[in-house]
């Protein structure tokens, strides 16, 4: 599945990194970056969690 990140909404909370370290990181200003935008089934739960807790609603998991 594909992960989408609207970086201009990001408020640098880091919740996504806590939820899925394999998929998200933050730059020096705290803005989230995607380490990968395609995730396999083993990472889907983590990304869903990240999308749910992201306070900026900036993360979406898109089914192909």
């Amino acid at each position: 599945m594909k992960v989408e990140l609207e970086a201009d909404k990001c408020v640098a909370s880091g919740q996504c990194v806590v939820a899925a370290m394999e998929v998200f990181d933050q730059d020096d200003d705290g803005i989230a970056i995607l380490l990968t935008d395609e995730v396999g089934p083993e990472l889907v739960d983590g990304v869903q969690e990240a999308a749910a807790v992201c306070p900026a609603a900036a993360i979406r998991l898109v089914r192909p």
Binding site: S13, G14, V17, V18, Q26, G30, A52, V53, P55, A57
Partner: protein, 390 residues
């Protein structure tokens, strides 16, 4: 469980509804909210929306398709007015009833007000749009209360060219929340820009001309914003038998009564990580607690998990991003453990008893703060953490 009702259609309620579906619940899912809009986000109201950088459509928490996928029985513009715990039904203002097997209460808080009329508050999209129409260069805005909300609004109004006065009853803004040193640092940010922050000033009333102080003095203003804290929306639960006391009282599972859970700003629950009950008005907590409440509602009783988060909060003021982890209220000591307050690049750690209870950072890289979050999670000893810099 075939019928679940979620009352309160904002961050916490939506997170609960979404989690129920994600965890496989396929029965009737009613989401009740008294605002007319589909779930939208509040933090941008005092930031991008007030600054007219974002239009309301950017606030939607889910796309219409995402919302539709939840297959909700969505009741918007419908206030819940009563709860019958015995017959298991929520009463709505229009006279209808929503029967349930499981219930999540997520009705949030509303602003405290002051005597008198004509003042703005800032909680809803409507509030933000009304205030922003009134802010323009030269307009005189009085903000009552220098908490995070008042400070954010003051910063935006200043940027828009308004003449801003902030009136705060305490001697140092936010001292009870973040400590006097950090509070003074935040106060200086206003002063440097010419925002007139007056501390030790009690406002008794809003008048047609502005505000009247406790001593009788009047301060003139074109607009007044009252930002003096909030009250949990629990009146609709009066007489239901639920325990209420500064919020819906819950155990560590966020349960208020059998199959009745609460989440978000309205919930006061026992957080075992800190060994105390708390009610947290933070955006991330609303989502996390909504998720936790939903999971516990569906789980077998012995499989439920205590909700033991490290609260997280951020605030944007002028060019500063403030971030805080943990439970800072009632701390015993504050120490700047990295950087420098005067330069507005620092991490401050908060001692509670002999452990690290919280951390607050301004202008620091995420990794510097994340270590302190970890110290809070593990209940690290204060002296060791401060000595080794975590």
């Amino acid at each position: 469980m075939r019928r679940i009702a979620v009352v309160g259609a904002s961050a916490a309620g939506l997170a609960a509804a979404e989690t129920l579906r994600r965890e496989g619940y396929d029965g009737t899912l009613t989401l009740v909210g008294d605002e007319p809009e589909p779930p939208y986000d509040r933090p941008p109201l005092s930031k991008q929306v007030l600054a007219a950088e974002w239009e309301p459509d950017r606030l939607a928490l889910r796309t219409p398709a995402g919302l539709a996928a939840l297959d909700l029985d969505l009741r918007l513009g419908a206030a819940a007015t009563g709860l019958d715990l015995v017959d298991r039904a929520v009463r709505l203002a229009n006279g209808s009833e929503v029967p349930y097997d499981g219930l999540v209460i997520a009705t949030g808080v509303r602003p405290r007000r002051l005597p008198g009329e004509g003042a703005h508050v800032l909680r809803t999209l409507g509030d933000a749009l009304t205030l922003r129409e009134r802010l323009s260069p030269g307009r005189r805005l009085v903000v009552v209360g220098a908490g995070f909300l008042g400070a954010e609004a003051a910063a935006v109004a200043w940027r828009l060219g308004a003449e801003v006065t902030v009136l705060e009853p305490a001697a140092v803004p936010l001292a009870h929340a973040v400590g006097a040193d950090v509070g003074r640092m935040l106060a200086r940010a206003h002063a440097e820009r010419g925002v007139d922050l007056r501390c030790g000033v009690m406002v008794s009333e809003v008048t047609e001309e502005g505000v009247r102080l406790a001593g009788g003095e009047e301060i003139e203003a074109d607009e007044v914003l009252v930002a003096v804290g909030s009250l949990p929306n629990t009146e609709w639960l009066d007489g239901s038998g639920l325990a209420i006391g500064d919020g819906v009282l819950c155990d560590e599972y966020c349960e208020a009564a059998e199959n009745v859970y609460a989440a978000g700003d309205v919930a006061r629950w026992y957080n075992p990580l800190f060994g105390t009950s708390m009610r947290i008005e933070h955006r991330t907590n609303a989502a996390e607690q909504g998720m936790a409440a939903a999971r516990n509602l569906l789980a077998a009783r012995e499989a439920r998990k205590a909700f033991a988060p490290v609260p997280y909060f951020w605030s944007d003021q002028y060019d500063m991003k403030v971030q805080a982890y943990g439970y800072l209220r009632g701390h015993d000591e504050v120490a700047v453990v990295e950087g420098d307050l005067a330069e507005r690049r620092f991490v401050a750690a908060y001692r509670s008893g002999d452990r690290v209870g919280g951390a607050l950072a301004v202008g620091m890289a995420p990794k510097a703060i994340r270590q302190w979050r970890q110290a809070i999670v593990t209940g690290a000893s204060w002296h060791e953490a401060v000595r080794s810099g975590v």
